[in-house]
């Protein structure tokens, strides 16, 4: 007990007193020091006890410096110099020995004064009310008196929000540009994110106004690209807004003069961008998106523009999505599309035009599917043989650059059962677990049976670099007569380039090169033109190639049988088809078809539309697109 009593309170030893006295130049005797020490202790305790009442009345648990100063002041004692702090001072013990000290870090005033990141002022004091317990009933868990965002909108933020939304949705394109730029780079708008997301969710209410929809999508893009924003679960909301633009039969689509196709293309690209950059924020997002796209695609009641959206959406999500959803679904869908396309009645003209749109979209999608698949096979082969040092780098580069390769690993880590059940519940055309990769040649064959030459023509030749967008409609003939059943009949009348690609190394296959059951012919009517389109048609596609030099191909891995052409030159690993074509009337060398394309010409010089080239029936209004692409806010997706 005595020991405990002795340590009832802290004491100031007489040595300290003497030291302090010496520091002021006073010499103290032992006796005086002892007396003083005791008195100092007592006074300190007294002041502490007095200060506690200030703490109690301030309804705090922690004694603050201010409390102590007040106690000193009221006992007519000079207060300690220095500032009183609202916060409790961190009081640290020293490990060795019983020494405690107040942490007092040095502050570099120069740095502080010149700092560019001016600290935000503390939020305003406010009162929030919430019903905590209704009728006295509530669980005994602590209830949420604390909103997640304690910090609410300051006056400035509110103003900013109003200005930005006004600028973006307003008439002045220049203002909009500035606003979007700021939205893209402002680091202090985290608090506003929910509000912007809310605004964006207003797409549903402006579905009649393409312009507004475009602006909102641009807003999405700016938000997504803002490196300071953590979108978190708002990704879901953004995605649903974007999906709305992709899939829904917008009110604006009723008028054929409205270019809602462009909007859907843009939205699809945006979707893939969100997904590739922020897809990891929400688990299962990939499959949810796929599911909803598939649902739309498999729903024949939906208008064609919805189907178009689904196709471009799948295309934007990458070739694997196309392979998994679109490709298996194609046979079923084809019948519907065929019916539309074959109906030549006047009343059907508009629908038929839409049908051609879808057709073109599917064509582009499967084209890339084929290319990517071929490429991936090659890469896999190279990776397996580990012969080429550059493979890894190339693969990485590809992975970074291409949106088409594969989704990020996260969505795929979903439990397979869950996925399967999802898809089955959705009435999917192809049950997930039953899906098996189709070999490339088989796939090509099947697709060829649908598209005939218009597919083959995509594999014809290099685009002219920076070539001017070809004017004038395409030849009407081919587009109409492509169905597989028709193709053989027409064979004689057509120029028949022969596809003579072959695959040299193909571990996937059993070693014996398979011959195409029916050698498809390559449409040679306007190869240069069509390829020029294809290279520049889809921004995402051209992006994928932008990092590579155009013609550098290391070695050809010809997938198709009967390759007759040796690799023309060595270089960094890239993949090229050599498609040999025989044209009626004149012999020509096979055309090399590459997975790597020439650098994209500047966006402003791009032809306005991705799929504009294929079907002559579609008289597209390219004006809004041009404005769009000319704006600074063209799609520049760092994929």
């Amino acid at each position: 007990m005595t020991e405990r009593e002795e340590r009832r309170f802290a004491e100031v030893p007489r040595e300290s007193i003497k030291l302090m006295a010496e520091s002021t130049g006073v010499e103290l005797s032992e006796e005086v020091a002892a007396l003083l020490a005791e008195d100092v202790c007592y006074r300190l305790r007294e002041a502490t006890q007095n200060s506690s009442q200030f703490m109690r009345h301030a309804k705090r648990r922690k004694l603050s410096v201010e409390d102590f100063n007040r106690a000193l002041r009221w006992s007519n004692t000079e207060t300690v110099c220095g500032y009183g702090a609202q916060d409790a001072l961190p009081f640290r013990p020293l490990k060795e020995g019983e020494l405690f000290f107040v942490e007092d870090r040095e502050i570099n005033l120069v740095e502080l004064a010149l700092a560019t990141n001016i600290p935000k002022g503390c939020a305003e004091t406010m009162v929030r009310v919430n019903v905590s317990y209704l009728d006295g009933k509530g669980n005994l868990e602590p209830q949420g008196t604390v909103p997640t965002a304690v910090q609410s909108l300051s006056e400035d933020l509110l103003k900013y929000y109003q200005q930005i939304t006004r600028a973006i949705l307003g008439e002045d394109p220049h203002l909009m540009k500035v606003a979007l730029l700021d939205l893209q780079s402002n680091s202090k708008i985290a608090a506003l994110l929910p509000y912007f997301v809310y605004v964006i969710s207003g797409v549903k209410s402006v579905s009649h106004d393409l312009d507004q929809l475009n602006r909102l999508l641009h807003m999405v893009k700016s938000l997504v690209q803002n490196p300071y924003l953590y979108l978190g679960s708002y990704v879901r909301s953004l995605v649903s807004s974007v999906m709305y633009c992709i899939l829904e039969p917008l009110a604006a689509s009723i008028n054929p003069l409205n270019d809602h196709w462009t909007l859907r293309d843009y939205a699809a690209l945006l979707l893939s961008h969100i997904f590739w950059t922020h897809g990891d924020l929400v688990s299962g997002l990939y499959h949810q998106i796929l599911l909803s796209l598939q649902k739309v695609l498999s729903d024949p009641v939906r208008p064609l523009c919805s189907h178009y959206g689904a196709v471009v959406g799948l295309h934007a999500l990458g070739w694997k999505a196309v392979e998994r959803v679109l490709y298996p679904h194609l046979p079923a869908y084809w019948a519907n599309l065929q019916a539309v396309l074959d109906d030549y009645s006047v009343s059907n003209a508009q629908v038929k035009a839409d049908g051609h749109k879808v057709y073109g979209a599917i064509l582009v999608a499967v084209e890339r599917l084929l290319k990517m698949k071929a490429l991936s096979l090659t890469l896999a082969t190279e990776g397996g043989s580990a012969a080429l040092p550059g493979t890894a780098a190339g693969a990485v580069g590809f992975r970074e650059n291409s949106p088409g390769l594969s989704p990020p690993p996260e969505p795929l880590s979903e439990p397979p059962l869950g996925i399967a059940s999802h898809l089955q519940a959705g009435g999917a055309g192809c049950p997930w677990e039953e899906w098996t990769p189709v070999s490339l040649p088989a796939m090509y064959c099947e697709l060829y049976s649908f598209f005939g030459d218009s597919l083959a023509v995509r594999f014809s030749t290099d685009p002219p670099l920076g070539g001017a967008p070809p004017a004038g409609p395409c030849q009407p003939l081919e587009g109409r007569k492509e169905p597989a059943s028709v193709a053989p009949n027409l064979e004689s009348t057509r120029k028949m380039p022969q596809l003579t690609a072959s695959m040299n190394i193909s571990p996937r296959q059993d070693g014996s090169p398979r011959t195409e059951p029916q050698p498809p012919s390559l449409a040679a009517t306007a190869p240069g033109r069509s390829l020029a389109r294809s290279s520049s048609s889809s921004v995402s596609r051209s992006r994928s190639s932008s990092s590579r030099p155009g013609r550098s191909t290391s070695q050809s891995r010809d997938i198709f049988p009967k390759a007759r052409f040796p690799p023309p030159q060595a270089g960094p690993p890239a993949f090229a088809f050599i498609i040999g074509g025989r044209q009626m009337g004149r012999r020509c060398q096979g055309r090399r078809f590459q997975t790597s394309f020439t650098p994209t010409p500047p966006l402003t010089s791009l032809p306005p539309r991705a799929y504009a080239h294929k079907l002559p029936v579609i008289g597209r209004v390219s004006k809004p697109v041009r404005r769009w692409t000319c704006s600074h806010y063209s799609l520049h997706l760092p994929l």
């Binding site: 009832r8 309804k59 004091t125």
Partner: protein, 755 residues
């Protein structure tokens, strides 16, 4: 002052208790409307100075040093023109007039002038000097020449100068301890009450007489025996080891200036007395006589539980007599409000075309208020302000609302809305709601007061004088026109204080707001112009709490200077000063009938004061910590108090008894409120919970038999758990204020505490 040098062996004085009590009662502060100066310094000496008047004559023949004292007292009496007492004293002491004069002439010579405080002090210090000079005086040299800035303190303390052998203190104390532990169980609990006051006084005597080591040893040996609820006091005490330190120590002065009150049955007392006489334990007997007040009662000794429930305050229990005064706790009738109200109502309502509502309302209110409460004070006992038209309108609103009131019961608990103050970096210190729950005021440690409108109606200022000249004063909506729309905002900040704002209170008519602050002032703010109207100065020390009377006009404030003051808004000086608490007045509440004021204090007592004459009519003891919240039941009969010990005590005002002890909170209770009909008591605490208690059941269980009322011996059932109806957590928000809306929705308020 007479007790400066009591002779050993004066044992007869104890039986004079009742007489002494009368004397003490006379000296209850009776300061009326003539706003007097600060009383705080004189409070203690006031009661001291009078009690010896009766005690002194009982003393034996004066010795030499006593003679000096007697002369001093005579002079004091003379100065106060108490000629009769002078005669008696002179006769009894056998002092000649000339002797006294000569003595006086020896002194500093200032004693003859008119009696201000300084004169008395010089006189008193001369007494000490004389005492010190006397040869057979104490062993200790008195600090003779020290400049006394606190002469009263000196006098008080000097009572300790007479003492015995310091080494024997431990023997004395342990002897008594052994005795008490050996007596019958029934007496032991009662006599154990003696331990703490004796311990403190003996320790202080040792310290005062510079026996530092003995004092320390004494403390170490016996401090462990004391009741745990005295721990805080012991902590203060243990730091005190030097005589010099005693001078400025307020806690010590509290102890000295008041007699520690013990209630002991006659049997136990006789037992103690016999023992002390047998042992010649004069040391202890002296302390009992001089510093303790033993309130002897006839009958069964009390049990330990009974004693514990009532003890704990700084000065022991309240004397039984202190709670005998009649208290008119009933509510005032509201006829003069109602009759004109209904008349006006008729017209107003008929114009509006809804006479139906009014009829029902009139009936319900009429039947209620026609019964005259026998316990109610006279209607005009305290002059109350007349009702303005707006007040009457508000009454109408109130009645309308109360018809929609939800009847609460244990099965039907109120919903709770929590008003959370966010980003209150300045430190929220006080909150108040208006009665109609339309406005919310917060007092902050950064000296600001902020007012929020919690309805969609924004706060607007009145236009400036120049603009007011322009408006059409005849128009019907003139009240609307005088408001400046440009100033409309959700909240307003009131700047003016220069220290933390510890108390805020709205006036019932919502036109004014009071705030009390550490800077020693109470400020009155207009909620029309949002400016400060008056700063009431008088406390000179931090003002911990303030509250408007339920009828407006009056308000009460209490602070660090240990007094509560009653003010009227149109007087810059207080109308009453309620002095008597031994430590800070921490919270003040008006009785619903506005005739009484309850104050809670750091001395762990609650006092009820009569506004009419300033008398203290009730002293409630039982809390073991400073009291931080008070609430009257709506019917005026009961009082609830919450303290730092986390307990809520319920008091019956009429009988002056405790009848409930609600345990459960784990931290200081800062908010208490009865529901509008009094069925539910809500308590809010630092422990981030709101608890609801079944006050109806507590009222019903109350023992009101005559015996309990007469003796004040209460049996508290330990039924906190039964009475607890609900406990509601906030995440990290201490509950600072509670308020029931007129429809019985419970509003709680507090600042979110992120730590």
């Amino acid at each position: 002052m007479m007790s400066l040098h009591p002779t050993p062996g004066k044992m007869a004085a104890v039986q004079d208790g009742p007489i002494e009590l009368d004397a003490e009662k006379e000296t209850k502060p009776e300061i009326l409307s003539d706003g007097s100066s600060n009383l705080s310094g004189n409070t203690g000496s006031g009661s001291l100075s009078s009690s010896p008047l009766t005690a002194a004559p009982a003393g034996g023949a004066p010795k030499m040093e006593d003679q000096q004292t007697l002369i001093a007292v005579l002079q004091f009496l003379k100065r106060n023109k108490l000629s009769e007492s002078v005669e008696i004293l002179r006769r009894e002491a056998g002092l000649a007039e000339d002797q006294e004069d000569s003595q006086a002439a020896d002194g500093s010579g200032g004693g003859k002038s008119d009696g201000d405080g300084g004169d008395a002090n010089s006189l008193l210090s001369r007494v000490s000097i004389a005492a010190a000079a006397a040869p057979q005086s104490t062993l200790t040299p008195m600090p003779v020449k020290s400049a006394e800035d606190q002469p009263d303190v000196r006098v008080v303390l000097s009572a300790y100068s007479q003492q015995g052998d310091p080494s024997l203190y431990q023997v004395y104390y342990s002897d008594l301890k052994n005795f008490i532990e050996s007596v019958l169980d029934c007496h032991r609990a009662e006599l154990s009450q003696l331990f703490y006051p004796l311990f403190v006084h003996m320790y202080l005597e040792l310290v005062y007489n510079n026996h530092e080591n003995e004092a320390k040893a004494f403390f170490e040996k016996f401090s462990g025996d004391q009741e745990c609820y005295y721990l805080d006091d012991l902590r203060v005490l243990c730091g005190l080891t030097k005589k010099e330190h005693m001078k400025g120590n307020e806690a010590l002065l509290d102890f000295r200036t008041s007699r520690f009150v013990l209630r002991i049955s006659r049997d136990s007392y006789q037992l103690l007395k016999r023992h002390l006489q047998e042992r010649h334990n004069n040391q202890i007997w002296n302390i009992i006589q001089e510093h303790l007040y033993i309130d002897i009662f006839d009958g069964m000794p009390r049990s330990k539980g009974q004693i514990d429930s009532m003890s704990g305050s700084l000065a022991g229990e309240a004397k039984r007599e202190a709670n005998k005064a009649k208290v008119y706790y009933g509510l005032l009738k509201e006829p003069e409000i109602e009759v004109p109200l209904d008349d006006e109502d008729d017209e107003a309502e008929n114009e509006e075309g809804k006479p139906k509502k009014k009829k029902t309302k009139k009936d319900s209110m009429g039947s209620k208020s026609k019964k005259q409460d026998p316990n109610a004070p006279q209607q005009n006992r305290i002059p109350l302000p007349e009702l303005k038209d707006s007040d009457k309108l508000d009454k109408i609103m109130y009645m309308k609302e109360s018809t929609k009131r939800i009847r609460l019961s244990p099965e039907n608990l109120p919903s709770i809305c929590f008003y959370t103050f966010l980003n209150a970096y300045q430190g929220l210190t006080a909150v108040d709601f208006t009665d109609d729950s339309s406005l919310l005021a917060g007092g902050f440690a950064d000296s600001t007061v902020r007012v929020w409108s919690v309805t969609p109606k924004k706060l607007r200022k009145v236009k400036s004088a120049a603009d007011l000249n322009l408006i059409d004063k005849e128009s019907d909506d003139v009240l609307e026109r005088i408001m400046d729309e440009k100033t409309a905002s959700e909240s307003k900040i009131l700047h003016g204080h220069s220290g933390p704002v510890y108390g805020v209170s709205f006036s019932p008519d919502r036109n004014y707001l009071l705030s009390s602050s550490e800077d020693g002032t109470v400020r009155l703010w207009s909620l029309q112009t949002f400016t400060c109207l008056v700063g009431y100065k008088g406390h000179n020390y931090p003002v911990w709490d303030t509250q408007f009377s339920p009828f407006g006009y009056y308000f009460v404030s209490g602070g660090h200077d240990r007094v509560a003051r009653l003010w009227a808004t149109d007087h810059y000086q207080p109308l009453r000063i309620f002095a008597g608490h031994l430590a800070d007045v921490t919270c003040t509440r008006f009785h619903p009938n506005s005739n009484y004021v309850a104050t809670g204090s750091t001395d762990r007592t609650i006092r009820l004061w009569d506004v009419l004459n300033g008398n203290c009519v009730r002293i409630f003891t039982g809390h073991k910590g400073p009291i931080h919240s008070l609430a009257f039941s709506p019917n005026g009969k009961f009082l609830a108090s919450g303290s730092t010990d986390g307990r809520v005590l319920l008091w019956d005002i009429g009988h002056g008894l405790m009848f409930g002890d609600l345990k459960g909170h784990t931290d200081t209770i800062y908010a208490l409120k009865f529901s509008r009909d009094g069925e539910i008591l809500a308590s809010g605490s630092m422990d981030n919970t709101v608890r609801l208690w079944d006050s109806m059941k507590a009222f019903d269980d109350m023992e009101t038999d005559d015996f309990t009322a007469a003796t004040g011996h209460i049996h508290l059932p330990d039924n906190s758990q039964e009475l607890l109806l609900g406990m509601y957590h906030s995440k990290s928000t201490p509950v600072t204020h509670l308020h029931f809306t007129r429809r019985n929705l419970l509003l709680a308020a507090g600042a979110y505490n992120s730590q």
